[in-house]
């Protein structure tokens, strides 16, 4: 861990206008053999295979969300069926069983906003504190944080459940939110990012001007840390949005379910004695579940890509 190098930011590639490959500064570096690399069709073809692999399941989801239950079973999976039922399906998803899906969506939002938001805030404060202050017990904090990165969250789920059920926290939102508040890897990312993103001189100058530490943090540090913070926020959002194991064991009342657990419950309706398959709702519900998070990722991509460039490569 002593080999920390300075965080470097991936050169901006987005937001350079129409930016074809030739406009990018670092892409213009001479290739290893001394001349500007020619575009390779073979290499592009290999990447197309990766691309198809990554996108086919998503395409499958989009295509099949336009089908009614009957045509879902009757038509070829990778192309549209009879009629366009997307809006009909969406309406059914939101109204089925008295709009339980809306409740699940609201729960997911609650867990994401409070859980991921809180985790990011705690990790940012602590990462900044570790990077910019020397204090008693700092080494111990380092050791605990680095050690806890290797402790898998799911290994803790069952013990945490047992603990929470003793103090009556199961089947409440707290059972999901409290364990989500911890992000040792997020702290690690902010810490490595903060080491070089915030110059000591700037902090000293602010102190000489009489600014308090809290004010310095909120006015200066937060601004300089933004790419790192957004990266941590995004990964925390993904983790809480996609959380399944923890809510599965903590919650028994469907009114507190997040989308992931709810969708699986819908999916399981197709089995058993009183089977009542609603495949079209599972497919459309899945699509609705991933749309917000995909949009967030696309909108914030230049932040998380540079943030990862800073933290992801170090150790």
């Amino acid at each position: 861990m002593s080999t920390l190098t300075s965080p470097e930011v991936i050169p901006e590639e987005q937001g350079r206008g129409s930016g074809g490959p030739s406009k990018r500064s670092r892409r213009d570096r001479p290739g290893p053999s001394g001349y500007r690399e020619k575009k390779s069709r073979g290499l592009t073809a290999i990447m197309v295979i990766f691309l198809v692999y990554s996108l086919v399941p998503l395409f499958y989801l989009v295509v099949n969300s336009t089908k009614s239950q009957d045509s879902l079973l009757a038509s070829f999976g990778l192309w549209f069926g009879d009629g366009f039922h997307l809006f009909d399906n969406i309406q059914q998803v939101f109204t089925y069983n008295n709009g339980i899906f809306v409740t699940w969506f609201r729960n997911t939002l609650l867990y994401v906003v409070v859980g991921a938001g809180g985790a990011t805030l705690l990790a940012t404060l602590a990462g900044y504190g570790l990077a910019k202050f020397r204090f008693t017990g700092r080494r111990a904090v380092f050791a605990i944080v680095l050690g806890s990165i290797a402790i898998p969250g799911t290994a803790l789920a069952v013990p945490t459940f047992l603990l929470f059920s003793n103090i009556g926290l199961t089947n409440t939102p707290w059972a999901i939110i409290l364990p989500s508040l911890i992000s040792p890897f997020g702290l690690y990312l902010v810490w490595t990012y903060a080491v070089d993103a915030i110059p000591e001189e700037l902090l000293e100058a602010a102190r000489i001007d009489g600014a308090g530490e809290i004010r310095i943090f909120f006015t200066i540090a937060i601004r300089l840390l933004t790419p790192g913070i957004v990266t941590v926020l995004l990964f925390s959002v993904v983790a809480t949005w996609n959380n399944y194991f923890l809510p599965l064991i903590m919650l028994s009342d469907p009114k507190w379910y997040p989308l992931t657990v709810g969708l699986n419950q819908w999916s399981q309706q197709a089995n058993g004695v009183a089977a009542d398959p609603i495949y079209n709702l599972v497919v459309t519900g899945s699509l609705i579940t991933i749309v917000p998070i995909v949009i967030i990722f696309l909108l914030l991509q230049r932040y998380w890509q540079s943030g990862l460039g800073a933290g992801g490569v170090k150790q």
Partner: protein, 312 residues
């Protein structure tokens, strides 16, 4: 905040020199103001559950005698538990095959992205990363549909070949089916980690290599792969943790392949079913502890070995 409780005898020892003090901000304990909230939650949500799990693993709840201390009896039982070892062997096979396949594919994709020889590189980067944003549950549901005989693609594919080659839900195929889902989810994530590491290689290194007449392959072996070592270590650790803790995908596919995926398919499913179907909380906690220790030890070994090679 908690700074008051932490200034103690220790503080005197660590009195910073004047020069250091200038560098490190005023007040010795100001840092705690920022670190304390995180540490409080960390202790409550991480250390306390671990402690509680250890406590549970040392007890047994029996009809006669109630809850009583049994020492390491649960651990000894676990060591002789063939269900546990079969689940452990399964994730070990999964780990040994799926993780290298996924990481090598991610490496190839990252090297291609970094090669500057790709058309529309940033489009590829985003699109291949996209599955990472898909919840594991949704990924398992989609792939479950695709694998399925009813409106999936395997039926169409097998019809096309005129055979029944693909049987995703049979015991010979099920690990491959799960491995494919996991690879699909995390290929792009690992690609981005590797790609980010490649972007911080100083351009002078490439210039020097090209002056020495190194070709693309030579540059990859001599410059890019060494530069990726740290990222590979991190990606390996996360993948190892993921494999040992495998739960979501098999648990979701279980409804589709009930005869193939049992209650102890992976150690985590075993712990889950012990708790929630069997009410054997003490034994379940033992499984969680043992798996946590094995995971942490292997992650630690990978980290130490990776770092040591870096410093040679």
């Amino acid at each position: 905040m908690s700074s008051g409780t932490l200034t103690g005898a220790k503080a005197a020892r660590l009195e910073p020199t004047p020069r250091k003090r200038r560098r490190t901000g005023r007040g010795k304990q100001t840092g705690w103001m920022f670190v304390a909230p995180f540490m409080v939650v960390l202790i409550l949500m991480l250390i306390v559950p671990i402690g509680y799990a250890i406590y549970l693993s040392l007890f047994r709840d029996q009809l006669i005698g109630g809850n009583h201390f049994v020492g390491l009896a649960n651990y000894i039982q676990l060591l002789q538990d063939s269900k546990f070892w079969s689940s452990f062997g399964r994730v070990l096979i999964f780990l040994v095959i799926q993780v290298p396949v996924m990481l090598v594919l991610a490496l190839v994709a990252a090297l291609a992205l970094d090669s500057a020889r790709l058309h529309a590189a940033s489009f590829f980067r985003i699109a291949i990363f996209l599955p990472y944003a898909v919840p594991g549950v949704v990924a398992a549901l989609i792939w479950g549909f695709i694998y399925g005989p009813q409106f999936g693609l395997t039926g169409s594919f097998n019809d096309l070949l005129g055979s029944d080659l693909l049987k995703p839900f049979t015991s010979t195929w099920i690990l491959t089916s799960i491995g494919n889902i996991v690879t699909w989810e995390f290929l792009g994530y690992n690609m981005i980690i590797f790609f980010a590491a490649l972007r911080v290689v100083p351009a002078e290194l490439y210039e020097a290599a090209s002056l020495d007449g190194a070709g693309s392959l030579r540059t990859i072996i001599s410059i890019k792969l060494p530069a990726l070592r740290g990222a590979i270590v991190i990606a390996s650790i996360f993948s190892i943790i993921g494999s040992f803790q495998l739960f979501n995908e098999p648990n979701l596919l279980k409804t589709l392949a009930p005869n193939v995926i049992g209650t102890f398919f992976t150690p985590n499913m075993y712990a889950y079913n012990l708790s929630f179907a069997g009410q054997q909380f003490n034994y379940s906690a033992t499984v969680a502890i043992v798996m946590g220790v094995i995971t942490a030890v292997i992650a630690y070994i990978v980290q130490v070995r990776g770092t040591r090679q870096e410093n040679r």
